[in-house]
């Protein structure tokens, strides 16, 4: 009698064990999809003076125009003000012939300029800080 029950139990247990494995397979798939979900994010961001943060993608247009990747409502900005692109491991900023110009660390830029961490970017009269996303918490923890 017990033999029969043990046979049934054996298949039930093995079935549940494989159900367990199937769920872990799903977890692995979700894991891999999550890694892919933000393929664009470069890990860099622009931090506004008032603490707002704009994550950077491989290509970003900055300006007043509502179809810009980073829309900034400021009368001193041109509608297409600047372009930030990724090249290799670096981020380059480029002025798009804006009226008031683009400044990095106080200097007006003419050619595409390689941004480094903690650089200060001025567009119109707005100041931004160029940061790696994981460091922003440490350096700007005060207002976050």
């Amino acid at each position: 009698m017990y033999g029969l029950i043990a046979q049934v139990g054996k298949f039930a247990i093995i079935g549940i064990i494989y159900y367990f494995l199937y769920n872990f397979l799903k977890i692995m798939v979700v894991d891999l999809l999550m890694d892919k979900q933000h393929p664009g994010e470069t890990g860099y961001c622009l931090l506004d003076e008032d603490g707002r943060e704009y994550p950077l993608f491989p290509v970003n247009t900055v300006g007043r125009a509502s179809d810009s990747d980073i829309v900034i409502e400021d009368p001193f900005l041109s509608s297409k003000h600047a372009l930030i692109t990724k090249r290799g491991r670096n981020m380059l900023i480029q002025d798009l012939n804006s009226t008031n110009g683009t400044f990095v660390n106080g200097k007006k830029i003419k050619k595409p300029f390689k941004l480094r961490e903690n650089d200060e970017v001025v567009l119109g009269d707005r100041k931004f800080k160029f940061l790696r996303r994981e460091n922003r918490g440490i350096k700007n923890g005060g207002h976050l």
């Binding site: 017990y2 033999g3 029950i5 043990a6 046979q7 139990g9 054996k10 298949f11 039930a12 247990i13 093995i14 549940i16 064990i17 494989y18 159900y19 367990f20 494995l21 769920n23 872990f24 799903k26 977890i27 692995m28 979700v30 894991d31 999550m34 979900q37 996303r133 994981e134 922003r136 918490g137 440490i138 923890g141 976050l144």
Partner: protein, 407 residues
């Protein structure tokens, strides 16, 4: 997405509990007359498991729930087999499991904050050497190797703790990715390996040595050192075969166990018989004869498991172990700092090698060496220390996550 993940994790942990209830109910039916005692075991186990699951989910922010679920799943299969073999061992082991869960939570929480502290690597090396020398000086011999320390009624295996300190030593020492003096480093690794050889713990010596090679290779990515290390290990193995009797016995029992079935080959032959008896789906819980296998509660628990759960169960168990190592490697890859990445890699490698050594040993793929199957074998130090290692992995994962999410 997070919610969906949580739902899947909840499903897996419920499936684990369900397996426990079915298996222990079968064991209840098997005892004549019907006794509910095994079911109490299942209730005790599920209570500890669910308490641990909810605590880790609520206390530990940014943790990896998979580590706890996978380890509990394996522990439960081990406990089912232990109850089957020896109910008295079960009641001891479930206490060790509870202690292990507690240690897991504590070590995860401590490591999360402790990673910021920098400790001199030689502190870890000294700790490793002292731990390994202790059983040589005042240990007791068991199963041919002198690696236990007896304290009143409890015996403790210091090499289990030494695994962690050794990994931390190498990770701290190689955090810059450069080797200052290769002679000095190899001397330090050899000192540790020789201490283990002196205790006749060959499996342990192999584990420590190969883990060291893996960490050195990951830190420096130098192929020449890895090749030289492997060549040295091969030479040492050949010399060991000719110089030491106990090495030769192990190797001969592996190459041809059938020439001396009642003697040297007895363990392996019984293990092979049991695995063969299991077939594809196993004999069913309680229908096999694990009592024929020597040391079935500790070293040969995998053969006992394959007999009753068959190839399907054993293959699934190996996949679960693989998932555990995969999570460890994943944590190592996502770690922000080289010390943490190397420590996580070392722990994952140690787990992987240990599982390979013992499962390979019982199925006669490699010579049998007496290391424990983590989470499954009967033994307190192995259970608690495996949980602490996983806790360290979890802490490393949390410290990586914390910076991302807090900011």
């Amino acid at each position: 997405m997070e919610l969906k993940m949580e739902a899947i994790y909840n499903k897996t942990i419920s499936a684990t509990a369900l397996i426990g209830f079915i298996a222990f109910f079968l064991l209840s039916l098997k005892t004549v007359p019907f006794s509910p005692a095994p079911l109490y075991g299942a209730i005790a186990f599920s209570t500890i498991m669910f308490a641990g699951y909810f605590l880790t989910n609520h206390i530990l922010y940014g943790q990896d729930p998979a580590l706890f679920i996978l380890s509990s799943f394996i522990s439960q299969l081990g406990l089912i087999m232990l109850y089957r073999i020896n109910p008295a061992a079960f009641s001891k082991q479930i206490n060790w499991y509870a202690l292990g869960v507690l240690a897991y939570i504590l070590s995860s929480a401590i490591i999360k904050y402790w990673v910021k502290v920098k400790i001199n690597p030689y502190f870890f090396l000294a700790a490793t050497l002292v731990l390994l020398a202790m059983p040589l000086l005042f240990g007791v011999e068991r199963g041919g190797s002198r690696s236990w320390i007896q304290l009143a009624n409890y015996s403790f295996q210091p090499s289990e703790l030494a695994k962690i300190t050794f990994v931390l030593f190498l990770a701290e020492k190689l955090r810059s990715g450069k080797i200052e003096s290769i002679l000095r480093l190899s001397g330090e690794i050899l000192a540790v390996t020789i201490l283990l050889m002196m205790a006749r713990d060959l499996g342990g010596a192999m584990l420590f040595y190969m883990t060291a090679l893996a960490i050195v290779f990951a830190a420096t990515s130098r192929m020449d050192i890895a090749a030289a290390g492997l060549a040295a290990a091969g030479t040492a193995a050949v010399f060991g075969y000719y110089l030491f009797g106990h090495v030769r016995i192990r190797v001969e029992a592996w190459l041809n166990p059938w020439q001396d079935v009642p003697g040297r080959g007895y363990q392996i032959v019984q293990s092979l018989f049991a695995i063969a008896q299991g077939g594809f789906f196993g004999t069913g819980l309680g229908m096999g004869h694990p009592e024929y296998i020597p040391a079935v509660a500790t070293d040969f628990i995998f053969s006992g498991f394959s007999e009753e759960f068959g190839f399907m169960g054993a293959a699934a168990l190996i996949v679960v172990y693989f998932l555990l190592v995969y999570r460890g490697i994943k944590i190592s890859l996502s770690a922000k700092e080289s010390f943490l990445a190397l420590a996580a890699l070392g722990i994952a490698t140690m787990f992987g090698l240990q599982i390979f050594t013992i499962i390979g040993g019982v199925i006669k793929l490699i010579p049998m060496t007496g290391v424990t199957l983590p989470f499954m074998s009967y033994g307190g130090s192995s259970m608690v220390m495996s949980f602490i290692s996983l806790g360290i992995l979890n802490g490393i994962r949390q410290s990586g996550r914390g910076e991302e999410d807090d900011g």
